[in-house]
């Protein structure tokens, strides 16, 4: 479904990604693991069309995403929930969700998607008219995910959804992610919280200093010595 | 090293030519144009310091020009010897700059630009209201009016201005200013005292601006006091600096010559004032496509010449 082939990405003059290749099949939850500054966000932003790779290509269901503007990427069915959550702080929760459905497909199916989102995160319905900036961290993350869902994506990319959240809230979020995958949305998940990520993802890529250094099935990675030393020692639960 | 010697000898040659110009020609139009160009060099270099090197787009430059002009005019016409009147004018401008500098630099970016613009406007309105009558040179001075001494004073002013910019360019101050211009926050964390550098730049910039005003006051036969605070005295040097090449030593030089020549040439064929529209277009072209102005164009051109022998 998603095929990233040999992309190099620069931030201005600084090279951020070296020869990255990655793929994701329909229905999968794939994880991208790495420490701070490894290039995870850069990769997601590139797929989403915010950055253009200097070389290589990004294919999504046969269409070259790297040649499309970001609004087309959303229309094609790829949605990114960024690290900073990407919400509109002075607009109401409902307005935020509505704007998530801005693209044609999303708008058409807005009402039923809203129902699904409220089913996942009932608090969003309660707080509908509040300015999004007044929500707590966990609620904002739920809003961000809900917003992403309203664009009716085939692939939902999540950049560190658990960041700064308490363990209980994190568990809720990950349960929601699992539910989202169950209704047919493929997920590309970037996280630092490795253990819980590997528990829901089927495969994972490990990225370090802008390069993919390891990848494989979650089970194998969990048992891999190197991975355990490098990453499972940095769990923050 | 030979490159430097070449530059110095070319510069010296031009300077020598300029010095003897009034001796080899009596055409008043050449002298007048040259005199104006030199004044523009002085004024535009002064803006170059604060706008080009420090990167602070000061749109209130006319205020300093005007203060220098009025101070010099009244002191000179009150029988103070010209050099003192000019000095007083320039100092007045600088004093005002230091006065408003501290509060002004509390404003960042766009607020600074708008603030300086509004400040100059306030001065203009006040002066227009308080001094509505034009100041005309009294008969005895008018009788002996000659462009020549005005030419030489303008030449001295222009040379001083270029020398000042040259000095800044090759000094620690210059480095600091460029750092501030490129990335103020980064400069602050590297230990640059932002406010001090900006104030110094402003002071160094407004002294020649006031001097330019004073020379203008000496040069003009009749002056409407409000006129020397008009926005044109901010905008002309800004145009010159940008089109010539901002933040360079030669840029304002090329820009001034280009400006005066083009202005004179266009006034022959186009209705009065239309030269501004042409400059406006050039200005936009520079901002969008040639951020380093004519200096860049010439550099590329001379490279081409070198490549093709």
């Amino acid at each position: 479904m998603l095929e990233v082939s040999n992309i190099d990405v620069y931030h201005g003059d600084l090279k951020a990604l070296w020869n990255i290749s990655l793929n994701l099949n329909e229905g999968e939850i794939v994880a991208l693991i790495g420490s701070n500054g490894a290039g995870k966000s850069t990769l997601l932003e590139t797929i989403a069309g915010l950055l253009i790779p200097a070389t290589g290509r990004v294919l999504f269901n046969g269409v070259r995403l790297d040649k499309e503007p970001s609004q087309r990427v959303v229309q094609l069915g790829v949605s990114l929930v960024p690290e900073d959550r990407g919400i509109f702080p002075y607009m109401s929760v409902l307005e935020n969700l509505e704007l998530g459905a801005f693209n044609k497909r999303g708008r058409r199916l807005k009402d039923e998607t809203l129902k699904f989102v409220y089913g996942l995160f009932p608090i969003l319905k309660d707080r509908g008219s509040q300015p999004a900036g007044t929500l707590s961290g966990g609620e904002q993350q739920m809003l961000a995910i809900g917003k992403g869902l309203l664009s009716k994506p085939k692939l939902l990319m999540l950049d560190e959804p658990s960041m700064g959240l308490a363990p209980l809230v994190t568990r809720n979020i990950f349960e929601a992610i699992y539910q989202i995958n169950r209704i047919g949305v493929s997920i590309l998940l970037v996280e630092q919280n490795v253990r819980i990520t590997l528990s829901i993802a089927s495969r994972a890529y490990i990225i370090e200093n802008g390069r993919i250094v390891h990848h494989g099935d979650s089970k194998n990675l969990l048992n891999d010595e190197q991975v355990r030393h490098a990453y499972l020692g940095t769990i923050d639960i | 090293m030979t490159g430097n010697w070449k530059r110095i000898s070319v510069g010296g040659g031009i300077l020598a030519l300029l010095v003897i110009l009034p001796l080899i020609t009596t055409r008043s139009d050449i002298l007048t144009w040259s005199c104006l160009t030199l004044q523009y060099i002085l004024l535009s270099q002064s803006w170059n310091i604060i706008g080009g090197y420090a990167g602070q787009v000061n749109l209130g430059h006319a205020a300093f020009f005007g203060l220098g002009a009025l101070t010099t005019r009244y002191l000179w016409l009150s029988a103070l010897p010209l050099p003192f009147a000019l000095l007083a004018g320039a100092l007045m401008a600088t004093a005002f700059a230091l006065l408003i500098g501290i509060p002004a630099f509390r404003l960042r970016g766009i607020y600074f630009v708008i603030g300086t613009l509004v400040l100059a406007e306030i001065l203009k309105v006040v002066v227009d209201t308080r001094l509505p009558v034009a100041s005309v040179l009294p008969a005895p001075i008018l009788a002996t009016y000659s462009v020549v001494p005005r030419y030489y004073i303008s030449l001295i002013g222009a040379v001083l201005a270029v020398a000042t910019v040259y000095g800044i360019h090759h000094s620690k101050l210059g480095l600091g200013l460029i750092a501030i211009r490129e990335n103020e926050d980064a400069a602050k964390t590297s230990g640059v005292n932002i406010l001090k550098y900006k104030l110094v730049a402003l002071a160094i910039s407004t002294f020649p601006a006031g001097l330019a005003g004073g020379i203008f006051a000496f040069y003009m036969i009749a002056i409407q006091p409000g006129y020397v605070f008009a926005p044109v005295w901010t905008f002309d040097p800004v145009i010159i600096v940008f089109i010539g090449g901002i933040g360079t030593i030669i840029g304002p030089l090329i820009g001034s010559i280009f400006f005066v020549l083009l202005k004179q040439w266009m006034s022959l064929y186009l209705p009065g004032g239309f030269h501004l529209a042409v400059f406006g277009v050039l200005f936009i072209v520079v901002v969008l496509y040639l951020p380093n102005g004519l200096v860049e164009v010439i550099r590329r051109h001379t490279k081409l010449i070198k490549t093709f022998g």
């Binding site: 609004q71 960024p82 704007l99 | 306030i122 309105v125 969008l288």
Partner: protein
């Protein structure tokens, strides 16, 4: 005494409504695009002249002709954006602001000259039959034209509010203003949004220009003073607060009207001085968010 004060107040509101109208387009463009169009007054001037043409050549009443002026300037603004400002909008924020400033400056040099060619430097005005006429209530004079101006201002505020809060596109404008990256990720076409916002801002400037030309002279050089006025109102309201612009305009209008009683010719200077002080003390304006 009451009559005098009340009249001053009414005059202040009349002028203040104009200030708000003049400033709202500028605020819109800045809020969404972070571009400060210092040629705003030039477009205002063009709008005035277009209204003047419609009135003088076709006898079209300026109030009725407003929609035409708006449409024309909308298209004009969109074209301008594509040709000139689109490049600047691609830069990142600081450079964008500085460069848009400089480009606006270039336009400020060009427009008056073009206007002088097209309409001569002579002062014009749009003077339909009812201009100058007024009616009295309790000894207070309400001019027809200024009243029309206030009404137009009200319609614009309400219309703009409805547009921004009730329509999808309007909401996307607000979203883009708050977080353009998030807007992009929501599937909003930022380029198109910018172009339409810019065109809208310009058409609002033109609309203001028509009303102003009913009250003041229309000259090729009226652009810059009105740009300054609009700038002051926008900063006073707070960059990015579109609704606050009208309130700020009214406040400025009333303050000027009152201070004119004491300060006479220095009134303009006082307004600007107050502006500078507020800039120092509270740069985010009355309603702005930091």
């Amino acid at each position: 005494m009451f009559e005098f004060l009340a009249q001053t107040f009414v005059n202040g509101i009349n002028v203040g409504a104009l200030y708000g109208l003049a400033a709202v387009g500028l605020s819109l463009i800045f809020g969404v695009m972070r571009i400060l169009n210092v040629a705003h007054g030039e477009f205002l001037m063009i709008g005035g002249y277009v209204g003047f043409w419609l009135f003088t050549l076709y006898g079209l009443d300026p109030f009725i002709g407003l929609p035409l002026v708006v449409i024309f300037l909308f298209l004009f603004g969109a074209a301008f954006y594509k040709v000139v400002f689109a490049r600047v909008a691609k830069f990142h924020e600081e450079l964008r602001l500085k460069n848009s400033l400089l480009i606006g400056f270039g336009l400020y040099l060009i427009f008056p000259q073009i206007a002088m060619l097209l309409w001569t430097p002579d002062e014009r005005a749009i003077s339909p039959v009812y201009s100058g006429k007024a009616f009295d209530i309790l000894g207070i004079r309400f001019g027809y034209v200024p009243l029309g101006g206030v009404l137009v201002a009200l319609i614009v505020i309400i219309g703009l509010q409805l547009f921004l809060t009730q329509t999808y596109f309007g909401k996307s404008l607000r979203g883009t203003a708050e977080n353009w990256k998030a807007a992009k990720l929501s599937g909003i076409d930022i380029d198109r949004t910018f172009m339409i916002t810019f065109a809208l801002g310009i058409s609002l400037a033109g609309l203001a220009g028509v009303i102003i030309s009913l009250i003041q002279e229309l000259t090729p050089v009226m652009g810059m003073p009105w740009t300054l006025k609009a700038l002051i109102v926008v900063v006073l309201a707070g960059m990015g607060s579109i609704g606050g612009v009208f309130i700020a305009g009214l406040i400025l209008g009333i303050v000027e009207a009152v201070s004119a009683i004491f300060m006479g010719p220095y009134t303009i200077a006082i307004g600007m001085l107050i502006f500078l002080i507020i800039l120092m003390v509270r740069p985010q304006g009355l309603f702005g968010r930091t």
